[in-house]
């Protein structure tokens, strides 16, 4: 009783400056490639990229992959990449590795200028081996892959576990119809697993993963259901951008940032060819500026 002086209780553990420096070094800010560049993201953020079909969502993911797998500096040349591992969960099964290699080749050639073929191959090989890929054909596949990933991280497995900074999920809503129909039919295998609890288990697993290892999570979501808009929203410039949310509440509360992409009606002229442009709109936290970008062979560029 005598040792616990009242002053000890209000004595501070660390000053604000110390806390800020601790937090910033543990979870540094990341400025990803456009169109995600408006907000400074940090590890343990979960960003949901939504949009209708054909709105360049998967291209945004590939762009982020290239940014993360490039080295900070290599043979004296500054690349400005994150030099860390990336794991890609392909639920949609539509990932094209040739597109990734195309963008990576363009980036290396642009930054390096002319380097020898052997050096180029070595750099390319280094970068591509930081990219890990898993295909999942059902929600239970996805869940078991997540469990295996956390197991590999705990084991500090050299091939998978260490140096992971980015986790990408292509299309969280891919199995929406299958899961929903299974839920209605009351289908379950073995013990009682309803797909509602399957979704909860997936989010729980992701949450555990984020606690184990600080990661940035980027997930795309296809906007399937367009809602009816009242007339005052329809103007000549913007199209109806309201989509109904179909992911379960547990996922919605897990997401920390939301951005919506949309293909634009206008065509910009790039030289002699008209090019389709896309708009990006941050929904959470809401930013009033909308960005416009185009997708070219060598990546995504703002206009």
């Amino acid at each position: 009783m005598g040792e616990a002086k009242p002053e000890n209780w209000i004595r501070c553990d660390e000053t604000g400056k110390e806390m800020l420096s601790r937090v910033l070094s543990g979870r540094p800010f990341i400025i990803p490639a456009p169109p995600l560049h408006r907000l400074a993201l940090r590890l343990r953020n979960v960003v949901e990229i939504s949009g209708p079909s054909n709105s360049a969502k998967s291209q945004v993911l590939v762009q982020a992959v290239v940014h993360f797998i490039l080295p900070k500096e290599w043979a004296g040349i500054q690349f400005g990449g994150m030099e860390s591992k990336v794991v890609f969960f392909d639920l949609d099964c539509r990932f094209d590795v040739l597109r990734l290699s195309q963008i990576l080749t363009h980036r290396i050639s642009e930054t390096c200028g002319s380097i020898g073929q052997i050096a180029f191959d070595e750099l390319f090989h280094d970068c591509m081996s930081r990219f890990l890929y898993v295909r999942c054909y059902s929600s239970s596949d996805f869940l078991s892959s997540l469990k295996e990933l956390s197991y590999q991280i705990q084991r500090k497995d050299e091939t998978i576990g260490t140096g992971l900074r980015l986790l990408l999920i292509d299309s969280v809503g891919s199995f929406h119809w299958i899961d929903r129909s299974n839920q209605l039919r009351g289908l379950c295998k073995g013990k009682n697993i309803s797909p509602q609890s399957l979704q909860e288990a997936i989010v729980h697993e992701l949450h555990e993963l984020l606690l184990l290892q600080p990661l940035l999570v980027l997930a795309t979501k296809a906007s399937l259901f367009r809602t009816e808009t009242p007339n005052e929203y329809q103007s000549t410039g913007d199209r109806n951008l309201l989509f109904r949310e179909y992911m379960p509440a547990v996922w919605q509360s897990f997401v920390t940032h939301r951005i919506q992409l949309h293909p634009s009606d206008e065509l910009l002229s790039d030289g002699s060819e008209p090019i389709r442009s896309y708009t990006s709109d941050w929904l959470q936290p809401s930013v009033s500026i909308k960005d416009r970008f185009i997708v070219r062979d060598d990546g995504i560029f703002l206009t």
Partner: protein
């Protein structure tokens, strides 16, 4: 040491979910080498369409061709089947939902392929080609799902014995079996459509097969036509092409709706000979924009096609 750890992991995994297959973790390098070695481009026989596809139908991917009736979708399917078998890529499985498979058209394509061969050799080549195309009728979605499961099981357990392997799977048209079950508030139909999609993509990727499906058109907003099967289907094929009639009586157009690789709207020009008169432009959903290219072709073949029922 490793074994006990793995046992422990598996026992923690088992109560929640039973992993029924090994999920491989591939690095970028392994993915790239697999694509370069195993996933080749299969010719459709129509050079213009091959150019739009970036080389042809790609193994491991699902290609969709949408278009109104008698715009040539079945002709593209038959032409692809003929050319793939003729160049010894492997066998073709043609799932026919609307009795549109025409052996007569296949023999026309074979004639055009080898115009200068003597009659006996033409006969033999026709026999060989016909024996490598397997045609099966399916009339509803349950039969389709059954058949696809059966194909997958057979492929898993077949060892290549030096004969040809299945390399192209055509479903003409997938929309006529899916469209009757979707729509309405019940989600069963959408679930079956999603299952067909997952199955086609799995068969394509795991067994290095190109899948070609056709889709019809329905009325959209403002009276324009749009591909059928709705928003959820758009996320399933890798590549989507749109065929449509032009204003002239001999012209058709082919436009790219979605592509995994050719994301920009620049298309290379090719001076190509094609069996049809086609011109190409790049589409932004339903309005036609962009560069157009006229290609001269053989109008006789198109007139013959126009008299076929499609």
């Amino acid at each position: 040491m490793m074994d006990t750890e793995e046992e422990d992991f598996k026992s923690r995994l088992a109560p929640d979910v039973t992993p029924n297959r090994q999920l491989p973790w591939l690095t970028g390098i392994e993915l790239l080498s697999d694509t370069n070695q195993n996933k080749h481009f299969l010719p459709t026989g129509l050079e213009g369409i091959d150019a739009l596809l970036g080389g042809g139908l790609r193994q491991g991917q699902v290609t969709e061709i949408a278009g109104p009736s008698s715009s040539g979708k079945t002709q593209v399917c038959l032409s692809s089947a003929t050319h793939v078998v003729d160049r010894n890529f492997g066998m073709v499985l043609y799932l026919d939902t609307s009795n549109s498979f025409s052996p007569f058209r296949i023999s026309c394509f074979v004639n055009q392929l080898h115009p200068s061969l003597p009659k006996e050799l033409k006969e033999t080549s026709l026999q060989t080609i016909m024996s490598n195309i397997y045609c099966q009728s399916v009339f509803d979605i349950f039969a389709l799902l059954d058949l696809l499961h059966h194909v997958e099981t057979t492929l898993k357990h077949t060892v290549k014995l030096g004969g040809s392997k299945l390399c192209l799977l055509i479903v003409d048209s997938v929309s006529s079996v899916i469209a009757p079950v979707i729509g309405g508030k019940n989600s069963q139909g959408w679930c079956m459509m999603a299952s067909v999609g997952v199955l086609l993509k799995r068969i394509a990727y795991e067994h290095n097969i190109a899948v070609l499906v056709t889709n019809h058109m329905v009325g959209g907003e403002n009276g324009t036509l749009k591909p059928a099967l709705g928003e959820s289907w758009k996320g399933i094929p890798h590549i989507r092409l749109l065929l449509s009639h032009g204003t002239g009586n001999n012209h058709g157009t082919t436009t790219v709706l979605k592509h995994t690789l050719m994301v920009s709207m620049h298309l290379d020009h090719h001076e190509i000979w094609s069996k049809w008169v086609v011109f190409f432009s790049v589409l932004e959903h339903s309005s036609v924009t962009g560069r157009v290219l006229y290609v001269a072709g053989d109008s006789f073949a198109y007139r013959t096609h126009a008299s076929d029922t499609n």
